[in-house]
């Protein structure tokens, strides 16, 4: 079980800065659990330090960059289907972020957010 080294949680009162340009959106599953919420993103190949988690008002924004770390000098692509570069996902969760405890986890290619709120 690997844990994310860097998780930025920014609280921005009104406006968050929109990343320039539209990006790809990772798929996400949302679980309800006794502690609060568990949110699972399909972010295989993304280093936890390349992921940003932002709380803005009632929105939960997850964004970051997927980089191709496998390709090596001398290789060339024959086919490309995985989307790299920046991604962003905005979710609305009925949770009081103000009093919430947020924790990130990277496991088996998933990026999991634990939201403990009442």
């Amino acid at each position: 079980m690997s844990r994310s080294k860097r998780v930025f949680i920014e609280r921005m009162s009104t406006e968050y800065r929109r990343p320039s340009g539209p990006l790809w959106q990772p798929s996400a599953d949302i679980y309800r659990c006794p502690e609060g919420w568990k949110i699972k993103f399909d972010l295989a190949g993304v280093k936890p330090e390349d992921v940003e988690v932002i709380i803005a008002d009632d929105k939960l924004i997850v964004r970051g960059v997927r980089r191709d770390t496998v390709i090596t000098e001398g290789w060339s692509y024959h086919q490309l289907e995985i989307t790299y570069s920046r991604f962003e996902r905005v979710l609305k969760i009925p949770c009081d972020f103000a009093g919430a405890e947020i924790r990130c986890e990277s496991k088996d290619g998933w990026f999991i957010l634990h939201l403990n709120c009442a």
Binding site: S20, S76, Y77, L80, S85
Partner: protein, 806 residues
């Protein structure tokens, strides 16, 4: 954060395309430079590539200066190699950020540049932007309304878009814009700039769409109407088929075709008929032209293009037919027989064009009928009296509604042969005014050199009139235009003499009227004297119409008597006529027993025949000059002046001293009846005799009538109408007639029985004239006053005929 970040990127030049941020676009990469750039981008961790549109489409290996300086950073989402062809990559890229090229760091094997990422246009909340947003929304709604086939996904994206910058980029990629316009959108740095551009493009697009839809609507509307008509017609056809009615226009056209096949038409006519038939077959029966064409074809088919009757060329039969119908008229009968003889020898000869001129009732029209009968031809008669429209003869062009061929073609259709005897009655009574001049149309019809291809306006095909035997009739020649007169062979029918009328009455009129009244020959017998009395006392005419009417009324009265059983056989004598016809209706000017000095008997001709008239002259002591009364025409007045001048200036010739008398007193010449206009020079000798009598005191011989024109030098010139004048003189009881010497040949026309009772004196000069007309000076018995009853009916023009002197 990527704001104003500087990057170094491989650059892919794009041909004719701009990729906007957020747009997902498939690209096919083939150029080696582009392939190298794509490979380089794929080799990076983030798969980022810069795409920039090139200014010129044609460049295969564009250098940095051929590229725009604002482009888009794209992520390669998918990549595939083409299975067959080497070195072609299929990419699907998604636009991310706009960038501006700072500098190109590498040109081979692919372009590489240091670029500055441009921030997204700043969202503004000014009223201007707000207005632009709303306007764009309105325009989008309009455009969507005009584009029925927009896929619903795109419709949803557009309608639900909440971000106007994204929407603008999306529209930029969807709309059909020029490269420079797309590039301008991409380069816009603020929302207002971007929206302004988009608004302009969109407005233009909507305008184009509106025009396009208007055009297509119009086309559709027209198409719709035509289709509707067509469908209704087809339905009608089906209904008719169901009802067992074959399509009427088809059947009709078929019938026409058969008739055209059968008809023996000249080549040109056949071609025209075929052409019209083709048009007819194409038209539906409801088309207005359909009936026009059908009527036209029927006319063509009904005309006797080649049909003619065979002339009966037996001269003896012809002669007997003509004699049966008409008494005398030797000239005309001769002319007809001549023509028949010519046809016998030369069947291709052209028919003559005759013009019968004569007073009413002399049998011009019936002569035409008997000519037709004698020749075995059909007879067609048309009256031209009062016709004043050329189109009546020659038809109206087919463009006019209700147009028809002219009377000539109509008559030919009635006759159903192309060689009838065609009588053009009353050709002298053709009207002519601003509306038309039918006489000019007749010029063509009656000209043998032209009428073999007579074109009726309606038919517009040449019809051969040269076989038609034209006979025109007229009462007088003078109203006929000279050009028309020239085309016809004029045959004069002068009035009948009383003897001729007697023969006509006995041979034709009386038998006819007896039959009309239902009597037989025995029941009614008119003595010759009675007939002559009817002729002279109850009729005044050159022809025999009144005579026939009077005979008819006698016959009816007899029929009444027979029916009432008052008798079986009636013989009518002159003294009975008063019972049957009433009082005598006409008195001829009869010879006066004695004439006082200054009165002379002249002769004149009218349309009704000859008349005698009296010239009265008297001296007016104490006045000057010459007074002329009695409705004298200019020529007659001049004639009187000449007579006066002659006597005045030739005292020795006349043998009496006129000069003194005329010097001291005026002269009045009067010609009764005062209400009847008179003209012409032929009263000259009568006036000179009257004046000579006046100044000599010697009366003019009361048994002598005279005619002739005089000149100042004393010549007596010939005049016309001798036959009528002499007959009138005889009828009036004259014993002598004085005529110009040069009229001697005319005496041959006068029936011998008329000349038997008359002494004819021919004179050449006035000196010879006066001794013949004045009583000798020793025989100066004073006379009774002038009887004053005048019998020339008022209104009948007495014309001393001078103009037709020959």
């Amino acid at each position: 954060m990527t704001q104003n970040k500087i990057l170094e990127l491989p650059i892919l030049p794009l041909r004719n395309t701009v990729i906007f941020p957020s747009g997902i676009t498939p690209l096919t990469v083939g150029r080696s430079m582009s392939l190298a750039a794509a490979e380089a981008a794929l080799a990076t961790e983030e798969k980022l590539l810069g795409v920039v549109a090139q200014r010129e489409d044609g460049e295969t290996e564009p250098t940095p200066d051929k590229l725009f300086d604002v482009g888009t950073i794209v992520v390669i989402n998918r990549m595939m190699r083409s299975p067959g062809a080497e070195e072609v990559l299929h990419l699907i890229v998604q636009g991310q950020d706009r960038f501006r090229v700072l500098e190109f760091t590498q040109q081979t094997p692919y372009l590489k540049a240091r670029v500055e990422i441009l921030p997204e246009p700043v969202r503004e909340k000014t009223p201007e932007v707000e207005a632009l947003q709303r306007n764009i929304q309105v325009l989008i709604q309009k455009a969507l309304g005009l584009l029925p086939n927009v896929p619903p996904e795109i419709r949803n994206i557009i309608v639900q878009a909440d971000d106007s910058v994204r929407l603008a980029y999306f529209l930029g990629s969807v709309l059909d814009l020029e490269l420079t316009q797309e590039q301008a959108l991409l380069a816009a740095n603020s929302e207002s700039e971007l929206l302004n551009l988009m608004h302009t493009y969109l407005a233009r697009e909507v305008e184009v769409l509106e025009i396009r839809s208007k055009i297509s609507n119009q086309a559709q509307e027209e198409l719709g109407k035509a289709q509707r008509d067509y469908i209704l017609r087809e339905q009608m056809k089906q209904i008719q088929k169901e009802l067992g009615e074959s399509e009427p226009e088809q059947a009709e056209a078929q019938l026409m075709r058969e008739r055209i096949e059968k008809a023996d038409l000249p080549e040109e006519v056949r071609a025209e008929a075929d052409r019209e038939l083709k048009r007819l077959e194409r038209l539906p029966a409801a088309a207005p032209d359909y009936h026009v064409i059908r009527t036209y074809l029927e006319w063509i088919l009904d005309l006797p293009w080649k049909k003619s009757t065979e002339d009966s060329l037996d001269l003896n039969t012809a002669q007997s037919v003509l004699d049966e119908d008409h008494y005398d008229l030797k000239d005309i009968k001769q002319r007809i027989l001549e023509h028949l003889a010519v046809i016998k020898l030369n069947p291709k000869t052209k028919a003559p064009i005759l013009c019968f001129v004569g007073p009413p009732g002399v049998g011009k029209t019936s002569l035409g009928q008997s000519i037709a009968r004698a020749m075995g031809r059909k007879f067609e008669r048309m009256s031209l009296g009062g016709m004043r429209d050329e189109a009546e003869l020659r038809g109206h062009r087919r463009t006019y509604i209700g147009s028809m061929p002219g009377r000539i073609i109509q008559a030919l259709r009635r006759a159903d042969v192309n060689n009838p005897v065609m009588m053009l009655d009353e050709v002298d009574k053709l009207g002519m005014d601003f509306r038309g001049d039918p006489a000019s149309a007749l010029l063509e019809i009656l000209d043998p050199a032209q009428n073999f291809s007579f074109r009726d306006h309606y038919l517009d095909l040449p019809f051969d009139l040269s076989k038609v035997f034209f006979i025109a009739t007229a009462n007088t020649l003078s109203p006929i235009p000279p050009a028309l007169r020239d085309r016809m062979e004029v045959i004069r029918l002068s009035g009948y003499t009383d003897e001729e009328k007697l023969h006509i009455a006995k041979r034709y009129l009386i038998p006819r009227q007896i039959k009309e009244a239902g009597l037989n020959e025995e029941q009614l017998q008119l003595t010759d004297e009675a007939i002559q009395a009817i002729i002279s006392k109850y009729t005044r005419e050159a022809g025999v119409r009144q005579l026939e009417r009077n005979v008819g009324s006698v016959a009816r009265k007899i029929a009444l008597n027979v029916a009432q059983g008052k008798g079986e056989v009636f013989t009518v004598k002159p003294e009975d006529l008063e019972d049957y016809l009433g009082h005598e209706m006409f008195f001829h000017e009869m010879a006066r027993q004695e004439l006082p000095p200054g009165v002379a008997t002249g002769m004149a001709v009218t349309e009704m025949g000859g008349e005698v008239l009296f010239i009265e002259a008297t001296l007016l002591p104490g006045s000057k000059g010459l007074t002329l009364t009695g409705q004298l025409g200019e020529v007659m007045q001049e004639s009187a002046k000449a007579a006066l001048s002659y006597l005045w200036s030739h005292p020795n010739d006349s043998g009496f001293d006129c000069a003194t008398k005329f010097e001291n007193s005026g002269v009045h010449v009067h010609v009764p009846a005062g209400a009847t206009p008179k003209d012409g020079p032929s009263a000259g000798v009568a006036i000179v005799s009257a004046l000579a009598s006046l100044c000599s005191g010697r009366p003019v011989r009361s048994d002598t009538a005279m005619t002739g024109e005089i000149t100042l030098s004393g010549l007596v010139l010939p005049v016309g109408g001798i036959k009528g004048k002499v007959l009138a003189a005889r009828r009036s009881g004259m014993k002598r007639v004085v005529l110009p010497k040069r009229n001697e040949p005319d005496l041959k026309d006068i029936p011998e029985e008329a000349l038997r009772d008359l002494e004819v004196v021919l004179v050449e000069r006035i000196e010879e004239l006066l001794p013949q007309t004045l009583k000798p000076s020793d025989d100066l018995t004073r006379t009774t006053p002038i009887p004053s009853h005048e019998t020339i009916p008022a209104g009948a023009e007495v014309r001393a005929q001078g103009e037709s002197r020959s």
